[in-house]
Amino acid sequence: MTDLSVKLGRLTLKNPVTVASGAYGYGAEYLTLYAPSLLGAVFLKGITPKPRAGNQPPRIVETPAGMLNAIGLQNVGIEGLLKDKLPALQGIEGCFIANIAGESIDEFVQIAEALENAPNLSGIEVNVSCPNVRKGGMAFGVSAKATEAITRAVRKSTSLPIIVKLTPNVTDIREIARAAEAGGADAVSLINTLLGMAIDIEKRRPLLGNITGGLSGPAIRPVAVNMVWSVSRAIKIPVIGMGGVRTWEDAIEFFLAGASAISIGTAVFQDPLSPLKILDGIQKYLEKNSIDSIKHLSEYLKKD
């Protein structure tokens, strides 16, 4: 039997295939298609202390083999999550992880504390990498100091496993990853979206209401693989790799690069069933190559 389970610090996933924050709503949107318990984890939409209206539309633009989004963290706020969204998952098995975004350290702490006893929650992803908000977001994630401080503060205010989500829009992502490790993260996840922009040449105006947005999808996969590879060699805590995973072959690439688990965002839009197909493909690949645990995959390139 192939062992697909992975340990991310204090968090254990039954398998390494997860869906990324922002692609899967609050966990219930795809319920009619399949049970989320089939997945290693579901990262919920980013949440802020108060509900946020988000950015002006248009919020999405398709680009070559990718897309730009500038949702701007539209969300129901921590109260909405606790009162409506998490209760809606009651009775539904699965590993649900909240994704939290504050404009200050205090706000991160506030959300983390509020989530402490939330039912149905297995962990917290600390989003210091959203490119689509004016305050906080990526402004924290480009600073090692801020990343470490936020991680440490969240670490202190919750007993849940925490994962710090990193932005690729930096000169050296390893520095930020090390800061997250130093701050006490159980794992890091990367990459969030690359800053991008598109312009309507007829109207001669930016296509996004927010002017700039975050680039995701297959287009960015080589950038993500490289960052996962270099981060996983720079820190000791596990890495959740993402950015353009669309097929099981893509997923294997990330494991070989050093990821312990992978996350699927944009590809869920093209095929909501892709996470299950990817899981199946991974399993078959391991079997075919007589690799008895997913954990071993990351070792092939490490030896180099």
């Binding site: 988000g54 539309p57 919020r59 297959p218 669309r246 839009f269």
Partner: protein
């Protein structure tokens, strides 16, 4: 909502650049209501990555039909898929038109005829009298006008170039007073809905508008497709695509 990889039963270029596709989708066809759409995968590979939303244009027994116009890469790819080939579709999605049991005025602009044709079909079955207003740039942009003529009690056509019906915009030929005795349903380009809303607001009545927007997930998860309403941003995919004209801000 359902996700299937199914067979294309028929493709038909009804006018240059306008295609009717028939899909074999029993479950979807049975549950589809006018105003709802399906989300169609247009490429097997990584580009284009997003699905494309198309209104359901008819649904009968095992068959679900869409009508689309080739405007860009996605619809171009779709137009090349042949009967017998497979297609990956998801649906039915969205809040449909609420069928009111009073005489109906249906106002379509261009490709906006698709959901209204489906609506007219259902109204005919329910014996609701339909006055259909259908405007487009030119006669070659009126793909379903004969079919609509066959089912609507009345069909008024305008074209911008005068090549069929009255020359002008559809909002020019609406009945002088759209009273509360009628239920009004509309789908078309933003400029048309904008003009129509002005008329409706002036007369103090409301209609049901079917809106379009760029979509990623199509199921309410990504918050990408929101439109402005008087009560804040709402998702076109699941809160709509049908909204009250009173709600929308256009």
């Amino acid at each position: 909502m359902n996700l299937v990889t199914t067979e294309i039963l028929k493709t038909n270029e009804v006018k240059p650049g306008y295609f009717l596709h028939d899909y074999n989708a029993p479950l979807m066809a049975k549950t589809s209501e006018p105003g709802q759409f399906i989300h169609v995968r247009v490429a097997a590979g990584p580009h284009p990555i997003l699905r494309r939303p198309f209104s359901i244009c008819s649904a009968k027994e095992d068959r679900l039909q869409i009508l689309f116009r080739v405007v860009g890469e996605g619809t171009h790819l779709l137009s090349k898929v042949m009967p017998g080939e497979k297609i990956d579709i998801m649906g039915p999605i969205g809040t449909p038109f609420k069928i009111e049991h009073k005489p109906a005025v249906l106002i379509a602009g261009g490709i906006g005829c698709a959901p209204l044709y489906f609506l007219a079909l259902r109204m005919k079955e329910a014996n609701i009298p339909v006055r259909f207003y259908y405007g487009a740039r030119s006669v070659s942009d009126l793909p379903l006008h004969e079919e609509i003529n066959a089912i609507a009690g009345e069909l008024n056509i305008t074209t911008e170039d005068g090549s069929l019906g009255k020359k002008g915009l559809i909002t020019d030929v609406l009945p002088d007073r759209l009273t509360q005795d009628f239920a009004v349903y509309a789908c078309g380009p933003e400029t048309m809905l904008h003009a129509l809303k002005k008329i409706l607001d002036a007369q103090g009545i409301s209609a049901q508008f079917s809106l379009e927007n760029r979509m990623a997930c199509g199921v309410g998860a990504c918050m990408g497709c929101v439109t402005r309403t008087i009560s804040g941003f709402k998702r076109v995919c699941v809160d709509g695509p049908v909204f009250s004209s009173d709600d929308v801000v256009i």
